[in-house]
């Protein structure tokens, strides 16, 4: 029985006067992949971004309620957001490598957090992160080339390597494959399968099939509410809620 890594309780999110999330309560276990599914605008990305306080970047966004990571409350003014974000990595929908070399992309995080003392250590971290992200063999001879010279799928893996390099415990993925072709998508899904042995992963996806393939738990969001959450196997063979069923069978968008 795995432990609770992220515990959300009654999370409300407002954009100005418009409420985007209504009392979300969820229990995300560690070293598992949890998928958040739902139609566009249902709040799944908003919820994801609450976990690493990325919603702070939006002026009009107000988050209330409780989210505990490893039993520590993170929606409080006393939270050290910078160290929270080194514990929780994020991969975005559109790959966004820094316009620096491949090496520097991965090295940036460990450098600013002071995780390494020598050049050799840094090299080791960069190499091992790239290996874990399944990218090392393809780029080992050209680590000094710009990160933007890679293909879309490779860029996304670079972003994953970048996130891993700071040794997080949780990785948040916001539709990581939506900009990628099927082969690149398959490579990332394979990577997720390997990563979940060591990291807790929360992935937002538009594809029910992808959620079925990669996740152990699935949560269905609709219009800002959490409709159903449970084992992925159950959700895609026999969900409890009719709204969930209607969504995943394509009876409403």
């Amino acid at each position: 029985m795995s432990n609770s890594k992220i515990l959300a309780n009654g999370v409300d999110v407002y954009y100005g006067s418009k409420q985007a999330l209504f009392g979300i309560s969820m229990d995300i276990k560690e070293k598992e992949v949890t998928a958040l599914i739902g139609p566009s605008g249902c709040g799944k990305s908003t919820f994801l971004r609450c976990i690493n306080r990325m919603n702070d970047l939006i002026e009009i966004c107000k988050v209330s309620g409780s989210i505990k990571v490893d039993n520590e409350e993170i929606i409080s003014s006393s939270t050290d957001v910078v160290s929270l974000r080194s514990k929780i990595g994020m991969v975005f929908q559109k790959p966004n490598p820094f316009p620096k070399s491949i090496f520097d992309n991965v090295a940036y995080g460990p450098t600013i957090h002071g995780l390494v003392e020598s050049k050799n250590d840094l090299e080791e971290i960069v190499h091992s992160s790239l290996k874990k992200a399944g990218l090392f063999n393809e780029v080992k001879d050209r680590l000094n080339e710009p990160g933007t010279s890679l293909s879309g799928g490779q860029q996304q893996r670079l972003c994953i390597a970048r996130a891993i390099a700071v040794n997080p415990e949780i990785i948040l993925m916001d539709e990581p494959c939506s900009a990628l072709d099927p082969i690149a998508t398959a490579i990332i899904e394979e990577l997720i399968d390997e990563l979940r042995l060591n990291y807790t992963i929360v992935i937002v996806t538009h594809s029910m099939q992808q959620a079925a393939r990669v996740s152990q738990k699935t949560s269905f969001f609709h219009l800002g509410e959490l409709i159903e959450t449970g084992d992925t196997k159950k959700i895609f063979t026999n969900p409890d809620n009719s709204k969930t069923q209607d969504y995943i069978t394509g009876r409403f968008g």
């Binding site: 029910m208 895609f236 069923q245 394509g250």
Partner: protein, 236 residues
């Protein structure tokens, strides 16, 4: 079956098509059984031949439906209720085809009119056949109504068929032991009753498939197998 109201209308059309093909198969095999039993009752070789020829129709229908199911699986990647429905339809298709084969076998045996069949067992077989025929009818209705309760009723009815089968089996064994001249004809009847029993099993399978499609739960048989129960004493 309430599998409509997809956003993509052609998905609804495809499922309707599958449903109608299953219905077609069901009706075909139902008629095959009825005709086989009539051929047996009336010693009608012409009717028996018709049944034997119609088996091709069933094979055709099976292949067409199989193809449609493969396509819908690949194309639509069905989920939840759609997934269960398609999965059950695949199994039902196979079961109906085998059911049809057994009905044809009965006709083949009924065509052997040179064999003089003992009256009582023959009557019993025809009666058992009518029971099985009714079962098929009910299971088709359960399918049309997409009802798990109706499917469960049919599933339970197989018990009765098994008991009938055991009864006729004992009868025939007694007949054969009494008069060895009857062995040829009784063996013929034996095969026929075995076919009927198998048809009953297939109908039970189909009922299980419908139940799973509707409820998402499998039907598990916790009761002891009567055939095995019957053999056990002999084994000892």
């Amino acid at each position: 079956m309430e599998q409509d109201k997809h956003i993509v209308k052609s998905y609804d059309e495809e499922i309707k098509d599958i449903n109608s093909k299953i219905l077609e198969m069901g009706t075909l095999v139902e008629n095959q059984l009825k005709d086989s039993l009539n051929a047996l009752k009336n010693q009608d070789t012409e009717l028996a031949e018709k049944v034997i020829l119609n088996d091709d129709l069933i094979d055709d229908a099976y292949n067409k439906l199989d193809q449609s199911l493969v396509e819908i699986l690949g194309k639509r990647q069905p989920m939840a209720t759609d997934l269960r429905t398609i999965f059950s339809a695949i199994k039902m298709n196979k079961d109906l085809e085998r059911l049809g084969d057994h009905a044809t076998n009965i006709a083949k045996r009924a065509a052997l009119t040179e064999l003089v069949l003992p009256e009582k067992p023959t009557r019993d077989i025809i009666r058992m056949g009518e029971l099985v025929h009714k079962m098929i009818d009910h299971v088709i209705k359960a399918f049309l109504n997409f009802s798990d309760t109706e499917a469960k009723k049919v599933w339970l009815a197989d018990r009765q068929i098994d008991e009938e089968y055991l009864g006729i089996l004992r009868q025939l064994l007694t007949y054969m032991m009494e008069d060895p001249k009857r062995i040829a004809s009784c063996t013929n009847l034996l095969y026929m009753v075995k076919d009927l029993e198998r048809i009953g099993d297939y109908v039970q399978n189909i009922a299980e498939d419908i139940y799973y499609a509707v409820s998402g739960e499998p039907l598990i048989d916790t009761n002891p197998d009567p055939t095995w129960e019957a053999i056990l004493p002999i084994k000892k």
